[in-house]
Amino acid sequence: MAEEVLLLGAWASPFTSRVELALKLKGVQYKYSDEDLNNKSPSLLQYNPIYKKVPVLVHNGKPIVESQVILEYIDETWQGYPLLPKDLYERAIARFWVKFIDDKCWPALQKVFIGEEKGREKAVEEAYEVLKFLEKELKEKRFFGGESIGMVDIAANIIGYWLGACEEATGVELLTREKFPKLSNWIDEFVSNSVIKENLPPRDKLVPFLRHRFGL
């Protein structure tokens, strides 16, 4: 049976980008369908009735939702490039950090860039605390995954690319090389990686989009 892989996404969404990245690293052929999140398609509502969100991966007609769940599915379904480490303990550590990024980093970043100005100083302090954990976790590694990109690096795309775009859109400086030298180096590695580079939404499109999103 011919394999059918469809991805419903939104071009500006880091969560959609994660899935595209994983599929590209695995060399999976897929069809991409961009969603207008202000006018959600019947397909989206049918495939993800609970959250009505992107990304949705549809594999041979069966939908999988939630980017973390999708990444695990992709790693288990398609061989080749491993997204998770082989070592079982390292694997648990990777899963821990992926969860940390979604549970702690994402909300902290949102508070900084979307939150009200009067709460900004506090939000920045809180974001620093969160980012410090990731700075420490990098240690001397090139990527969170070691020598090559892994699931944690993919999940950290919000820091690798979207954070910088948000800084540009809002004029708020958060992640400086001085405060976060390791993360800064990691960001350089992240955006210069050949597979990642080709699959990021263009900066000159993303920044105005974010500005508009933030009501600026």
């Binding site: 939702v65 939630e66 648990a92």
Partner: protein
């Protein structure tokens, strides 16, 4: 493997700690249970979970693993001679993971908020939200179990553990609130599943009694009322 090789840092009322215990029981892993005092938090807890400072923490050959669902997956990955916890098919695994995330991101926060809800209106709204979630889970149970005993099929699986750990809290909420959350009429599948789950050998010894949980909740709520306003 020596018993001291596997330690679990936890506390009896915690549903998240229960997840780890059930998983270890399924795999028949001998482990040392370290009761965490929480007030104040022990040195071991602060050292082994510096990010969240929360239980459970599994310590395997001196290496800590945190976050209950990460722990359960680790246990499943490592102890392969016991029954599998996650389904073998990647799509089924995705379904289990999806619902486990739903339980942690949506269901549990709602359940926990009921305790601290101010006023009847707020409580009613939360109970309605919870009921909607339970209805979704009843449907999921039908699809996942395919007529068998558990979400995982013949034996307890990942989603059974992720959801079943909240049964104590659900029952306590029912009793304290005079409401029925798992109802023979509305959620017959889950009602039978709940009984089977609680009776299972891997669960029986680690599911706290509803009365004890109610006591614990009362103490907790009294503390919250006594605490200075934020």
């Amino acid at each position: 493997m020596a018993k001291s090789e596997v330690k679990l840092l936890g506390a009896w009322p915690s549903p998240f700690v229960m997840r780890a215990r059930i998983a270890l029981n399924i795999k028949a892993v001998e482990y040392e249970f370290l009761q965490e005092t929480l007030e104040p938090k022990s040195q071991l807890l602060l050292q082994s979970n510096p990010v969240y400072k929360k239980i459970p923490v599994l310590i395997h050959a001196d290496k800590p693993i945190c976050e209950s669902l990460v722990i359960v997956q680790y246990i499943d990955d490592v102890w392969t001679s016991g029954p599998s916890i996650l389904p073998s098919d990647p799509y089924d695994r995705a379904i289990h993971r999806f619902w486990a995330a739903y339980l942690d991101d949506k269901f549990y926060p709602t359940l926990r908020s009921i305790r601290a809800a101010q006023g009847e209106e707020a409580r009613k709204a939360l109970l309605e939200q919870l009921a909607e979630g339970i209805a979704l889970l009843e449907e999921a149970f039908g699809k996942c179990s395919q007529g068998k005993a558990f979400f995982g099929g013949d034996g307890i699986g990942f989603l059974d553990i992720a959801f079943g750990c909240f049964l104590g809290l659900l029952r306590a909420t029912e009793k304290m609130g005079g409401v029925k959350l798992l109802d023979e009429a509305k959620t017959p599948g889950l009602v039978k599943w709940a009984d089977r789950f609680c009776a299972d050998g891997a669960v029986k010894g680690v599911m706290p009694e509803t009365e004890k949980l109610i006591e614990f909740a009362k103490v907790f709520m009294a503390k919250m009322r006594g605490a200075p306003a934020k």
